[in-house]
Amino acid sequence: MKTLAADSVQKTEQGRVVNDFSIQVATVNGSGSQSSNNVLMRTIFQMGIPVSGKNLFPSNIAGLPTWFTIRVNKDGYIARKRETNILVAMNPQTAFEDVKALTPGAICISPVELKLNDVRSDVKHYQVPFTELAAKATETLKLRKLLTNMIYVGVVAELLNLDDNEIEKAVTGQFPGKPKVVPLNVNAIKIGREWTRENLKKDDPYFIERMNETAGKIIIDGNEAAALGSLFAGVTVVAWYPITPSSSLCENLIDYLYEYRVDADGKNTFAVVQAEDELAAVGMALGAGWAGARSMTSTSGPGISLMAEFVGFGYFTEIPTVIFDVQRVGPSTGMPTRTSQADLLSTYMLSHGDTKHIILLPGSVAECYSFAGEAFDLAERFQTPVFVLTDLDLGMNNWMSDPFEYPTKALDRGKVLNAEQLEKAGEFARYKDVDGDGICYRTLPGTDHVLAPYFVRGSGHTEKATYTEKPEDYQNLMDRLERKFQTSRKFVPKPEIHSEPNSKVGIIAFGSTHFAIYESRDQLKAANVPTSYYRLRALPFTEELRKFVESQDRVYVVEQNRDAQLRDLITLELPDLATKLHSVRHYTGLPIDAQFVTDEILKQEKK
């Protein structure tokens, strides 16, 4: 079959833009466009080209504007891209603004009745009679709206030269177990495609051409990845309270638990409670951690605030649990469907009194998976609440990744004494630093030995867990907790350092900022600013930090919050090197993009 796109390849050999652009679909939420957008993204992915998919959505159920952006990039850059090259303008509410925001030379696919061609003359317009075509696709009025979405898939497919077989495969994957739905959708795509071939003349430079860059890769969002990490970490108790953008973490986990963690006799090897609030959720997680389960909860900023008192309790009484914080924009309700890295400081020192916590900072979906497992081990090793800090961009958007690896390490359940060990030891003091690493031994409720019981209390306690208000007892306890925290520096994930020989400029970043940095470093290099890059993967800092900052003249700490929270933490850690630290901050609620980082650094470098 000769396609329209293939036809024009011959015509415009020059100035072709292949596998390097971004597509934005503007719709209203609740219109069912998600399936169509996934089909588009998956088709391109199946054709071997690196993609990422981002859903920019309102905090609303139906009727408000939503945008889905697919970035296609042959070099594997998958951060947000500021410019849109291909717009599918389906939402009358925003169409005018959407078109105005396009870069010159972009293309705009829109319903003919929106009459968008007058808005911009430097944009290539393709106007499509969607209503008419949808009527051809189905007689059922109810389905027309949904199938309209598939018709734009057909239009884009024809313009970009997408492979029909891959489209069909993507549609089939989109509707598992619904064999009747697949042909209906495939047909709608075909109608859009055929109409385009017969009625439009391709006059733009954008093409998709097969590559081999995605073979064997998966697409997943960070929340599902973290859910899988928890599943394979052998989580047994889950307590949670719904909140965007973290809900899908526990929802995915619950699905997986019911699928893979029910015994042959139909009994569960796990327990899940949707708690009455986050306060109760973390209380349950701590109660379970105390009683010996691998427990967890997941939340976002507002929930973290509610958990504050209990988290300090968990730190002080030394109870393991794992808390996922999928960050969103605050304070308060803030922008619940936008991304942010502004919980770093408050989480690190969550609760009153002297408190500090281990925080893992995954920078990819693969790390959302592996760090989830790591977090459970660390929580039980260090007998303390451990946080995994991700964000909406990482947690809810679609990312390409190598398949996750099956854990090779056995679960680390930490220092727990059973009845036989107690009998052998002949003594037990819950808060005694026997090994000198600050980590004490614990026993679990239910242990059948007279030495086992101890009393957990949030008040001052002695090594034997009895009540105390003695100044030296309290100070000794706080010093031992500090010693334990220092020990954890050797156990948390080390940074990933990308060194550029002879670089004078360093970059430090964490979490989802990574993708923009990855791309920006190439841009900076092209602008004669070669950089070395330190991707922080956990708090507390590890020994590599000092060496890295010392090795560079200037270090840019790039993060997605207003107050330079990471820069401040590094300043506290390395006060003597503070003058080397510079800050790049992005806090619009949109994911940071590479050009922003490049522009900021070049500006501060006075280039």
Binding site: T236, V273, A293
Partner: protein
């Protein structure tokens, strides 16, 4: 079972432990505090029932009342949590280890104010535990402020009048569908003992609202939570007798004069009706009787309501037999083939 040897000359219970084995650290509460009287009954009840202390976990919130788990069952693990949040900790502990017998002690401030939400949800989930509210109508530990259970018109130590409607925790528990609701008085050890034992045999949340006078801040003239008032006004609904599962039932009562409730573990609670003919299985009657008693300032005690058939949180959770906390890696980490399958689906 590994236990330290106890003096053979002392009398022991059916698992060979002495009363001393059920004691805790010495109390640091004020002399005469109602809470200590309740502690004494808890020690005795667990001793007499022959419950193995290591199978018990003691929990509490914050307050004078919440300190008391340190004063009983030294041989059980204990958890003094944060103010008003003991229910969530208990829920988590139960999820981790359903075989633990949980006993929680709270105060009227801890339960009816800061912890009201968690209390309601605990009851709603029917978490198996004994939940005792040591109700003195004040915040003892913060020195005498009114609590939400203080009766309307009751006076504080400094003479202030409480103008708000009290929260009746028994009424609330019944309304929420609690399957075991009892009210008693720290100064009525016999009744309290029967209720405690029955609560330990109940499968589900057993709420015991026990009036427990605060001698320092709320035992004066004008307090409806004082020893004097409670003693004078206590109106037991029935005489309670408890026959544990391991004892033969010997005495037979005349039919009609006694109501027999068989509890989950095979123990029996015998209610000898006093004049009113109260039926604690009748939820509507329980609610109307309580409303009327509150209006008439009557202090009704006894087993207010029981529904021993209600499914509890554990049975609803459909768990494997072994406590989740004890499951080995082989049972909690799915195999390599599971991950491969999931990865293939995501490709």
């Amino acid at each position: 079972m590994v236990q330290s040897p106890s003096n053979p000359a002392q009398s022991t219970n059916r698992i060979g432990l002495t009363l001393a084995d059920y004691k805790g650290a010495p109390s640091t509460l004020c002399d005469g505090c109602g809470h200590d009287a309740i502690t004494a009954q808890i020690i005795k009840a667990f001793y007499e029932l022959g419950i193995a202390p290591h199978q018990v976990a003691k929990l509490s919130g914050i307050g004078c009342s919440s300190k008391t788990p340190a004063y009983f069952l030294n041989r059980a693990h204990g958890f003094n949590s944060v103010h008003g949040r003991m229910p969530s900790v208990a829920t988590g502990a139960n999820m981790a280890n359903k075989d633990l017998l949980l006993i929680g002690v709270s105060g009227d401030g801890d339960t009816a104010s800061i912890g009201l939400g968690q209390f309601c949800h605990l009851v709603r989930r029917n978490l198996p535990m004994i939940y005792i509210i040591e109700n003195n109508g004040v915040y003892g530990l913060t020195k005498g402020q009114f609590s939400a259970t203080a009766d309307m018109g009751s006076k504080s130590k400094v003479g202030k009048l409480n103008e708000y409607t009290p929260i009746d925790l028994c009424g609330l528990a019944i309304e929420l569908g609690c399957g075991f609701v009892g009210r008693s008085f720290a100064g009525d050890p016999k009744q309290l003992m029967a209720l405690l034992k029955a609560a330990a045999s109940h499968k589900g949340t057993a709420v015991l609202d026990v009036v427990s006078p605060c001698v320092t801040f709320n035992n004066h003239e004008g307090s409806t939570k004082s020893y004097k008032y409670a003693k004078e006004m206590e109106t037991p609904l029935h005489e309670l007798g408890f026959i544990p599962f391991y004892e033969q039932i010997t005495v037979d009562y005349e039919p009609g004069s006694v109501q027999d409730v068989e509890l989950h573990d095979g123990s029996h609670l015998r209610l000898k009706k006093l004049d009113k003919g109260y039926d604690p299985r009748n939820r509507e009657l329980a609610i109307t009787t309580m409303l009327k008693a509150n209006e008439e300032k009557q202090f009704l005690t006894g087993l207010m309501f029981i529904d021993e058939k209600k499914p509890d949180f554990v049975s609803m959770s459909d768990l494997v037999d072994a406590p989740l906390a004890t499951l080995p890696q082989e049972r909690t980490r799915p195999g390599k083939e599971v991950l491969s399958k999931i990865m293939a689906e995501l490709m």
